[in-house]
Symmetry: D2
Amino acid sequence: MFVYKSKIRVRYVETDQMGVVHHSNYAQYYELARTECFEACSGMSYESMEADGVMLPILEMHSKFLKPALYNQVLTIKSIVRELPTVRLNVDYEIYNEAEELINTGRTTLVFVNKSTKRPCAPPERFMQNVRQYFE
Amino acid sequence: MFVYKSKIRVRYVETDQMGVVHHSNYAQYYELARTECFEACSGMSYESMEADGVMLPILEMHSKFLKPALYNQVLTIKSIVRELPTVRLNVDYEIYNEAEELINTGRTTLVFVNKSTKRPCAPPERFMQNVRQYFE
Amino acid sequence: MFVYKSKIRVRYVETDQMGVVHHSNYAQYYELARTECFEACSGMSYESMEADGVMLPILEMHSKFLKPALYNQVLTIKSIVRELPTVRLNVDYEIYNEAEELINTGRTTLVFVNKSTKRPCAPPERFMQNVRQYFE
Amino acid sequence: MFVYKSKIRVRYVETDQMGVVHHSNYAQYYELARTECFEACSGMSYESMEADGVMLPILEMHSKFLKPALYNQVLTIKSIVRELPTVRLNVDYEIYNEAEELINTGRTTLVFVNKSTKRPCAPPERFMQNVRQYFE
């Protein structure tokens, strides 16, 4: 298992006329947290992998909205990788507000894809080398 | 059951550097389609309900990304309400590209909330009056 | 001179906690209107030009925010091309609400760029052939 | 004069199919930087002012796009307040990439507005008290 905590400050533009963060922004919060988690876990940056010809598009996403997030709050996003990535990478998310209340949970499934063939592929070997240690 | 079809043209800003629509935009597509479905089914506009003191925040969302959507494509979003709304409103979505391929499926659960008390409430009676006919 | 009118319905996600459209969305409204204006004026689609290796990035943008736009309003965006495009394309915008009040004015300067060399270039000849008639 | 430097990391969702940050995101970068500048200069948070009944909508914005910004780059946004704020607040922006190249310049004009009357008003006195020292 690998767990990583990211911090994000809510932007004004992310609020809507209900006075809370619009739900479409959570996909962006997950993505930000996942990118940081990816780098911390694998020791390689996501954009270096993309430059090497491997992309990581999303297959599936699930969100539960428990409590609203408000402008300028600093949210903590916990990214949790429970199983060794294969062609697919599953990441769970827990988002907490400043009062440490759980306000959102999510799950994304992504797939490693070869940029030229557009076909699913195994994760890059230098990704797996680093990642394996957390799942032994 | 009530089904409604919406059309949407993909905006340039919605693409990302993979050359496809970024997945965070689908929540916005669902919302647009849901709003039109809401009006067609109930005969009242969503903003008139909000002005009357009832909001409809989201509790849960689920998406499957089957094929990419591309810039300037006109997508068809089918909104499907399968059960009579109660305090909760469930809407399913199917998104089709111009070749009539299914590219995305989704489901949202929303809850009617009283704007003053911030508590769940029954849908407005004038909403239910119109909606009931589709679920008899 | 070439003038084109586009219609756009304000999305919920575009509102912010002031209860009005967040100003960052106007750049997207201009872009939508400009794309339609581009197609109407030149008889070619923007994405076919991009597929042919010519991009049209933005150099400069200016906006005045006169009145707020509200959720679900249908806005009319007038795109105005006052001079024959050269390497640069200038477009002015006037946005009107449903009461035909002018709520926003804008101006963008874009530049035709060769996708391979990344250098400014003349507009494609089939673009100019159609466009010239409006500036004689 | 008051100058404040903010840092921002480019999000994937902010890129478009040209492979660079879509220009509509710069308004959000300015806003983020401006909010931090506002707090540093006045010692009060923007949301506490809004809670006290004073809003700060935008009147005018101007941007020059000099070089593209890329995914995951850390940008430095310099916010510059050149004159003592009155009913209006002018802020200039300079955005630098990691190679310290100037990639964007901007200017926004905002106006202090009383939330109840919706009319322009003087900035809150506790805002001015702190701010004055930088303009003597």
